[in-house]
C-alpha cells in the first residue's frame, strides 16, 4: 500500500467502508460520499477509502463517475477482512494488527461512515464518526430483520463511543433521540451537519436536455442489461424495458431500498389503489424485486397484489441514469417516514424538475416549516392518501414542483459548506488526542474502577476498585504523548496474584515503537512489582504487559469459586519526569 501524500498540510483522512458492496449504486452511502467529495474544492484533503476486497470494483466504478479533478483526491485501498467485514468485534488477527499499525502511521484521522465499526477499536488515530441514525431507536419493536443484529450493532456502537472523538449527524432529531438519549453520548461531541441542497444534473456532470433525451439514455443503458434481475424475471422484463417508452408513460419513481423500515409496501398498496382508478400509471423502484426465490416482504407484496408488471425494478443505476429516471418521472415518492436527515431524494427529484412526496416523519418536519409541509408530506400509514396525493401531484406537477423548488432553495447550507465543516472537524480532531485515551501528563493514573486511561484497553478482566487483572497472556493499554512533550518515565505498578506465594511469576513489558523488552518477576517474596520505563515516544503509544503464565485463584484455594485465569494485575501508572537513563531493566 502506498499513499499518495503530497505536502504536509494535506489532511489525510481515512474512511472505512465496511461490508461487501458489489455495486457502486446500490446504497445511499455512495451518494453521500459523492456529495462529500463534490464539496471539496481544493487539494487540502486526501481521502483514503478503505474497503473490503469484494468492494473494490464497486468503488473504482464509483470513483470513475467523479470529475477527474476530484478523483485525484480519493484513494481506494483494500483493508483486511477482519477490519472491513467483521466490524462488530475487534478480533483482528496478527496481520490485521500490523496492517492497522502501518496504516495508522500514514493517516491523520479516521472518518467512519457509521458508528458501530468496532474493528477499529484499537486504532491509534482519532476518530470522527458519521452517525446517520440508529433505526432501532426509531422503531424499537416493529421490525425483526434476520439479517441485521441490533444487539451486535448496539454493543459495537457503545464500545466505539469510548474511542470516537466526535460524531456527525444530519438532524437534531437524531442527535437528541438516538445519539444522546439512546447511547448517552455527550452533546458536546455531536455536530449536526444537515444535508445541503444540490442540483442533481450538475452533480452527474452530464447534461440531460429533456425527457426524450433522458429516456433515450435510459434505454441505451438498459441494453447493457446491468440491472439485477432473476433469470425468470429477466425473460419477461429485460428486453421489454430496453424498448420501454419511459418518456411517454406516467410513472412514479421510488428510489429506495426495500428494508422493512423503509415502508416500501405502502407503495404496493397505493399502486393497487391507483389501479382501481384505471389510471395508466406505473411505478419504478430501485430496490431489487424477486418474484420467485424467497421474496422479501416488498417483493411478496408486489406478487400477491399481481403488480409485478406495474411495479418495475431497475437496480444499481449509475448516477447519470438515476438522474435520467428523475427527469422522466411524473412524481417521486419517498415512503420512509424516518431518515437520519432530510432525504437526498428530495434534492435529486426537485432539481430534476419532478415533484416529490415524502412520508411525514420527525426529521422531515424538522426541516420544513408548517406551511410548507402540505406540499411535501403524506401520512405514511395511509395508502389511500398516498394514492390521492400521487394523482394530485401528477395533475398539478408544474405548480407543485415550482413551490417545492422555492422551499428547497431556502435551505441554508451548501455542499461546499458541509464538506468544509466536516473536514475542518476532522482536522481539529486530528490535531488532538484520540478520544478515550489519557494524555500522558505528569501524575498518577489509576487503572481500577472508573479509570479513563484507555477505554479501548484490551486483554483485561473487568476493572476492580484497586485495578485490573490481565485476562490473557498479552494485555495492553494506550497512552497519548503530545509530540511537544519531554521524555518521561513510566512507573507501572503491577500485582502478582496474591495466592501464589509459593511460586514466582515472570513477565515482560514492551512499548510500541521501542524495541526493548522489559522483563520482571515477582511472587515468591513479594506480590507486587513496579517497573520503570523511560519513554520518549509521541502520539498514541501501546504498552503491552506479557504474563508468561496465567493462574486461577481456585488452583491454590479450594474454597475459591473464582475460575478466572489471571495474568499480572495493573494497579496504576505514574508518569514522572525522566530521572536517569538506567532505570530500565536489562533486555
Amino acid at each position: 500500500m502506498t499513499l499518495d501524500v503530497q505536502g504536509t498540510d494535506r489532511l489525510r483522512v481515512a474512511c472505512l467502508i465496511p461490508g461487501r458492496l458489489t455495486s457502486a449504486f446500490a446504497e445511499g452511502l455512495f451518494q453521500y460520499l459523492t456529495l462529500l467529495v463534490h464539496g471539496l474544492t481544493d487539494n487540502t484533503v486526501q481521502l483514503s477509502l478503505v474497503v473490503s476486497d469484494d468492494s473494490m470494483s464497486a468503488f473504482h466504478q464509483w470513483r470513475n463517475y467523479l470529475p477527474i479533478t476530484q478523483q485525484a483526491n480519493v484513494i481506494i485501498i483494500t483493508g483486511p477482512n477482519d477490519i472491513t467485514i467483521d466490524i462488530y468485534e475487534d478480533n483482528i488477527g496478527a496481520s490485521g494488527k500490523i496492517w492497522l499499525q502501518n496504516f495508522d502511521a500514514k493517516i491523520d484521522v479516521w472518518l467512519l461512515i457509521r458508528p458501530d465499526i468496532a474493528s477499529l477499536l484499537s486504532t491509534d488515530k482519532p476518530i470522527v464518526s458519521i452517525f446517520a441514525d440508529f433505526v432501532f431507536a426509531a422503531y424499537p419493536t416493529l421490525f425483526t430483520d434476520p439479517n441485521y443484529s441490533v444487539e451486535q450493532a448496539y454493543r459495537a456502537t457503545t464500545r466505539m463511543a469510548g474511542v470516537t472523538t466526535m460524531y456527525i449527524c444530519f438532524s437534531d432529531y437524531v442527535k437528541k433521540n438516538h445519539i444522546i438519549k439512546f447511547f448517552d453520548i455527550e452533546e458536546s461531541r455531536i455536530k449536526v451537519v444537515p444535508h445541503a441542497p444540490f442540483n442533481y444534473e450538475q452533480l452527474t456532470g452530464k447534461v440531460i436536455h429533456n425527457k426524450f433525451d433522458a429516456a433515450r439514455k435510459i434505454r441505451e443503458y438498459l441494453k447493457n442489461g446491468e440491472s439485477w434481475r432473476e433469470l425468470d424475471q429477466s425473460q419477461q422484463l429485460t428486453e421489454f424495458l430496453q424498448l420501454y417508452p419511459f418518456e411517454e408513460v406516467e410513472f412514479a419513481f421510488i428510489s429506495t431500498r426495500a428494508r422493512p423500515h423503509k415502508n416500501a409496501s405502502l407503495i404496493v398498496k397505493a399502486a393497487a389503489e391507483i389501479r382501481k382508478t384505471y389510471r395508466n400509471m406505473i411505478f419504478i423502484v430501485t430496490a431489487p424485486v424477486r418474484w420467485v426465490k424467497s421474496p422479501d416482504y416488498f417483493s411478496q407484496a408486489i406478487v400477491d397484489a399481481g403488480l409485478q408488471r406495474i411495479i418495475l425494478s431497475v437496480t444499481d443505476l449509475p448516477i447519470d441514469i438515476h438522474a435520467a429516471f428523475y427527469k422522466c418521472a411524473a412524481v417521486t415518492v419517498h415512503p420512509s417516514p424516518f431518515e437520519g436527515g432530510f432525504p437526498f431524494t428530495a434534492f435529486e427529484s426537485v432539481s430534476s424538475g419532478t415533484p416529490i412526496l415524502i412520508a411525514d416523519g420527525p426529521v422531515a418536519r424538522e426541516f420544513l416549516v408548517e406551511e410548507d409541509r402540505p406540499d411535501f408530506l403524506f401520512d405514511p400509514l395511509s395508502h389511500r392518501e398516498l394514492a390521492k396525493r400521487i394523482i394530485s401531484a401528477v395533475d398539478n406537477r408544474p405548480n407543485l414542483v415550482e413551490r417545492q423548488r422555492d422551499v428547497l432553495g431556502r435551505f441554508p447550507r451548501t455542499l461546499y459548506q458541509n464538506s468544509t465543516d466536516i473536514f475542518a472537524l476532522c482536522r481539529q480532531v486530528a490535531d488532538g488526542k484520540p478520544f478515550g485515551i489519557s494524555k500522558a501528563d505528569l501524575g498518577l493514573y489509576d487503572f481500577g474502577l472508573g479509570s479513563a486511561i484507555d477505554k479501548g484497553a484490551k486483554g483485561w478482566w473487568p476493572a476492580e476498585p484497586w485495578g485490573r487483572w490481565a485476562s490473557e497472556n498479552h494485555a495492553s493499554l494506550r497512552l497519548w504523548f503530545p509530540s511537544e512533550g519531554a521524555a518521561v518515565t513510566l512507573q507501572l505498578e503491577l500485582r502478582c496474584p496474591p495466592w501464589a506465594k509459593s511460586r514466582s511469576f515472570t513477565g515482560h513489558i514492551t512499548i510500541e515503537g521501542d524495541g526493548r523488552v522489559y522483563q520482571f518477576e515477582c511472587g515468591t517474596s513479594v506480590n507486587h512489582v513496579t517497573v520503570s520505563i523511560d519513554c520518549a515516544q509521541s502520539g498514541t503509544v501501546e504498552i503491552s504487559i506479557h504474563s508468561h503464565e496465567l493462574a486461577r485463584p481456585s488452583e491454590n484455594d479450594p474454597n475459591s469459586s473464582d475460575q478466572r485465569a489471571l495474568g499480572f494485575g495493573l494497579e496504576r501508572i505514574r508518569v514522572c519526569e525522566q530521572l536517569r537513563s538506567d532505570t530500565a531493566l536489562n533486555s
Binding site: G225, Q236, E239, F240, P245, R275, K276, D304, G306, I310
Partner: protein
C-alpha cells in the same frame, strides 16, 4: 399485396367475428391499384365449421406455432437468413403454415389478432401489426393466476415484446391504447385507434316506443302489486336447480311476467362475480330488492355446482351459502341467440358488472331492444356509452355497496316506468375502420424489405 391475418388461438365468438370482419374488410381493399390477397390463418385443429360469412376471396390456412430455429427455417423455406439474435428473449416463435401452404411466408404483412403466442415473441420475419383487444390483466391480474412466472404471464410479457417490435398496434378504444403504451410498453406513435366496428347482434331489430311503454307498464304493475315472489322462487328454484333446469325457471319468469334483470357474464374473474354477489345479497337482504336476477353466458351453469376450478367453486359456495341468492338468482348458462334476445328484450334492465375489458356491446344490443342498462364504470365502457350515446345508469364495480344501491335505484326507475333505452349506431364506422386499417397495412408494407 398479400396479407396474412393470424389468429393463434382456438377462439370463437367475438374474436372470431372480428377476425372475419378484418379479412373481409381487407379482401375488398385495393392498395396501389392492386387487390389485397388475404389469408385467414387459424391454429392447427381449429373447428373451421365455426367460420361463417368469410369472403370467398379469403384463403383459409391452418398453421402451428413453431419455436424459432434459423437453420430449420432456412431448410424448410429455402430462405438464407442468418441466425441473428433478433431478441434477447430465450425463445422466439413463428407461425408455420400446414399443408405446404406458402401464404404466411409470402405475405407482405402479417396482421396478428393478438400478440399472445405460446412459444416466445413472434419472430419479425415480416412487418406485422397487432390487434390489442384489451389488457384485462393490467387491472385484474387474477385472470393469469398468482404465479408471476406461469406460462400465462410469460406469454403476456412476450406479447409486450412482440407489440414493441411491431410496425403498429391497433385498438378500438382510447383506454386500451393507453394500456398499450404504459403496460405493453409500446410507443404512442405506433398506436392506432380504429372505430368500434364490431357489428352488434340484432342490428336490424329496433323496438318501437309502444313496446317500451307496454313493457314499462307491465313491470310497474308487477312491482306495485307486491306480488308474492317466493312462490316462484325459494324451494322452486332449489328444486329446479337440482334438476338442472334453471332455463325453464327463466322461461316461467318470462311467461308469468315476473320482473327480472339479466346479468350477462362468463366465468372469468374480471367479470367481478364475488363483488357482484355481495352486492346482490345486500340488494335482496338489506334493500328489500324485488327484481330477480337471471345470470346467463358461456359456462355460467358451472356456478350451479361444485367445481374443480377454484374460482368457480368460490362463486358456487358463495351462492349456495346464501339464502337470498338461492332464492333470487337464477343461473341459466349460455342461451341460444333467439332465447337470449327474448330474455334481453323482456328484462327489466341489463346488469353489466365487469371490472375491466374493452367494453361490451351487449349494452348496445339491450338499448336497441329497448332495455336500459346498469353499467359498471370503467374507461372503455364509458367510451362505448359516449360513442353510441347510450342512456344508461352507472356504478363503481369495486364497491359492492354502490352496486347494491344502484340496483335498488334501478328498481325504482323501472317501477316508475323509466325503462326506455336508446343507442345511436352509425354505418360509417365500418368504412372508417377499413380506411384506417388500409393505411396501417400500407405503412407496414413499406417496411417489408
Amino acid at each position: 399485396m398479400r396479407c396474412a391475418v393470424i389468429m393463434p388461438h382456438h377462439w370463437a365468438g367475438g374474436m372470431l367475428n372480428f377476425g372475419i370482419l378484418l379479412c373481409n374488410a381487407m379482401a375488398s381493399m385495393k392498395i396501389s391499384s392492386e387487390s389485397v390477397k388475404v389469408s385467414f390463418c387459424v391454429p392447427e385443429g381449429y373447428d373451421v365449421s365455426r367460420i361463417v360469412n368469410l369472403s370467398d376471396k379469403v384463403n383459409l390456412v391452418l398453421f402451428r406455432q413453431v419455436q424459432w430455429d434459423a437453420e430449420e427455417y432456412n431448410y424448410k423455406t429455402f430462405a438464407s437468413l442468418k441466425p441473428e439474435p433478433y431478441s434477447v428473449s430465450t425463445y422466439m416463435t413463428y407461425p408455420e403454415a400446414l399443408n405446404n401452404a406458402l401464404d404466411i411466408i409470402l405475405a407482405d404483412v402479417w396482421i396478428l389478432m393478438t400478440g399472445l403466442f405460446s412459444k416466445g415473441p413472434i419472430m419479425p420475419l415480416k412487418p406485422y401489426i397487432v390487434y390489442a383487444p384489451d389488457f384485462i390483466q393490467r387491472v385484474v391480474p387474477e385472470i393469469y393466476g398468482p404465479d408471476p412466472v406461469s406460462p400465462s404471464w410469460v406469454m403476456d410479457a412476450w406479447q409486450s415484446i412482440a407489440m414493441q417490435r411491431s410496425q403498429g398496434i391497433f385498438v378500438t378504444s382510447k383506454q386500451t391504447g393507453r394500456d398499450a403504451i404504459s403496460y405493453a410498453g409500446v410507443s404512442a406513435s405506433k398506436i392506432h385507434l380504429l372505430p368500434m366496428a364490431n357489428v352488434p347482434f340484432f342490428k336490424s331489430k329496433v323496438i318501437d316506443s309502444d313496446y317500451i311503454r307496454l313493457k314499462s307498464e307491465r313491470i310497474k304493475k308487477s312491482l306495485s302489486q307486491r306480488m308474492d315472489l317466493t312462490s316462484m322462487s325459494g324451494e322452486k328454484i332449489k328444486e329446479l336447480s337440482e334438476n338442472n333446469d334453471q332455463k325453464n325457471l327463466m322461461r316461467n319468469l318470462i311467461k308469468q311476467k315476473v320482473p327480472f334483470f339479466l346479468w350477462v357474464t362468463n366465468i372469468t374473474q374480471h367479470k367481478n362475480h364475488e363483488r357482484a354477489l355481495e352486492a346482490l345479497e345486500r340488494y335482496y337482504r338489506d334493500e328489500g330488492g324485488r327484481v330477480k336476477c337471471v345470470m346467463c353466458g358461456p359456462n355460467t351453469q358451472w356456478f350451479n355446482k361444485e367445481s374443480i376450478y377454484p374460482y368457480v367453486n368460490t362463486v358456487y359456495k358463495k351462492i349456495s351459502e346464501s339464502e337470498q341468492l338461492r332464492k333470487n338468482l337464477i343461473i341459466v348458462g349460455e342461451l341460444e341467440i333467439s332465447e337470449y334476445q327474448i330474455a334481453l328484450q323482456d328484462a327489466a334492465f341489463l346488469w353489466h358488472n365487469v371490472l375491466y375489458d374493452n367494453g361490451t356491446f351487449s349494452v348496445i344490443e339491450a338499448a336497441r331492444l329497448g332495455t336500459r342498462s346498469l353499467v359498471s364504470k370503467y374507461p372503455q365502457m364509458m367510451e362505448i356509452v359516449e360513442n353510441f350515446e347510450i342512456n344508461c345508469e352507472t356504478f363503481d364495480p369495486w364497491d359492492p355497496i354502490d352496486a347494491s344501491n344502484s340496483l335498488k335505484r334501478m328498481e325504482h326507475l323501472v317501477a316508475n316506468g323509466e325503462v326506455g333505452a336508446s343507442a345511436k349506431i352509425s354505418d360509417e364506422e365500418l368504412s372508417i375502420f377499413s380506411e384506417r386499417l388500409q393505411l396501417l397495412i400500407e405503412m407496414a408494407a413499406m417496411n417489408n424489405k
